[in-house]
Amino acid sequence: MKSKMDKYNLILVGLFMFLVILTILWKMPQKEDRYVHVGIAAYDLDDTFMESYIKDLQDKMEQMKIEGKKVSYEIYDAKGSSRKQEKQLQRMYAQKYDVILVNLVEPSSAASMINDAEDADIPVILFNREADDKDLKIVKKVWYVGTDAKAAGAMQGEMLKKIWEEQKGKIDRNKNGKLDYVLVEGEETHFDAIRRTNGFLESSEDMPMNQRANLSADWKRELATTKFAKLDKEIINNAEAVICNNDDMALGVYDYYKKHHSQMPVILGINNSPEMNRKIMTGEIYGTVDNKMEDQVGHICQLMKAILKENTKKYKKVWYSTPHAITRTSCRE
């Protein structure tokens, strides 16, 4: 009887030891990745603004450490093709990045992209090309960082108003008492293009504006030159101002006038790219709107840290940098 009890006790002790070993194995920490992994999807790195944006982002991320870990990032350039970006996003989900930064080719397709990222359990920061508000509400782990497109457009209107009031005699070359202008827009269905244009039109409502032509050049410099050249020569020669949704297209219009040695109208862009800034400082181009790219990049990095520390309470879903008017005079002041 005693020997039976001893055997029983031995089994109990054996099982207890087995349980202890299993518990240790269960609770043993996993081998951790030594880096934080970030995927960056850019719509087109041929866009000079986006190229500078990504370079700034790269420099900041290389200086960053999140909870002691270096950041390993990878850049995916969609070259303006939504099909290419779709394939790249599939590769990005498979890489299981800790966070992805996405500059969409087609902001109207944000909903499906956000859902796919949610399925892959990857937080998303959309930047620069704004998606619809309702798309951002689909899931919790998605944010947007960009500029207030309408405010940037409105600022163009304010800048135009200022120069019209100060130099009306010089600007109104055909002396019809109106400001004859050409509007050059980004992609027709693009939210930012629509908002920038609306902002400009609303803020210049009280001016004697006379729109002579309106064209879309998909944010591109060469396309802007080509399409602008196709306008009626009478319109081109009488244009007193050319308002563009971004700097690249403004530079495209500048290229046209420079090539034809024609008198330069008041040209306005948005972004404050280095080349545009140089031309403003030399007085060849009137002005642009600085989207405060550095502030946006800084905010993305802060938000990224917060996401990885799972502490995003103080971050709003949508964050805009405050645009700032750039003219030769404003910079001197």
Binding site: L12, F18, W26
Partner: protein
């Protein structure tokens, strides 16, 4: 009798606990990443279009479930390379692929003989034990991505044929960490119409 009942209760409790802990352990095991890891170093601010080569590397990683540690370098000394390899080994990386190191890595007089490093290179084949590059050709060779205007010329017969360096394949093959020299392929109207390279030209 009472003691025996107690022991039975302890036994049942132990078995239940073992079942619970085993389930937890299995769940943890299923969540552990089974993918292998590799490291890729790209030149930073590279003016040449590396998109096809990058697509090849990414497709390999996708097809073979490889997690990538990616770095962009403007400059790198031999010491920094050694340090990177050491760190990557600690992170369980199976190998390091240096993409066009001639653009950022200082040349060493005695060469590099790192076992787990492969260089995708045009000019540093002698410096590395393992490398992936194109065989030299007498005629001018076009690299992917090829301009649409050039492809059009082949299609409409203005150019009889061109030599094509398939950078997509170079990227894909380089991830196998074995020395490879790819010959440029001849691309004429017939090959184009066969649709063999359509996926590559579609970008």
């Amino acid at each position: 009798m009472r003691q025996s009942r107690k022991k039975h209760a302890v036994l049942i409790l132990l078995l239940l606990l073992i079942a619970l802990v085993s389930t937890g352990l299995m769940t943890k095991h299923s969540k552990i990443e089974k993918r292998s890891r590799m490291t890729v170093v790209f030149p930073k601010n590279e003016p040449e279009d590396l998109s096809a080569l990058q697509d090849g590397i990414r497709d390999y990683a996708y097809d073979h479930q490889v997690k990538l540690d990616v770095w962009y370098k403007e400059q790198m000394s031999a010491e920094e390379l050694k340090k990177l390899i050491k760190e990557e080994k600690k992170n369980n990386s199976k190998g390091v692929v240096l993409v066009y190191p001639e653009n950022y890595l200082e040349k060493q007089a005695d060469g590099y003989v790192y076992k787990d490093v492969l260089a995708v290179t045009d000019r540093m084949q002698k410096e590395f034990k393992y490398y992936a590059s194109f065989a030299e050709s007498k005629e001018k060779a076009y690299r992917l991505p090829v301009k649409t205007s050039v492809l059009e010329q082949v299609k409409n017969g203005k150019k009889k044929e061109i030599l094509l360096e398939n950078t997509y394949k170079l990227g894909y093959e380089s991830m196998k960490m074995k020395t490879i020299t790819l010959k440029p392929v001849k691309l004429d109207r017939e090959t184009m119409e066969s649709g063999k390279y359509d996926a590559l030209f579609a970008g």
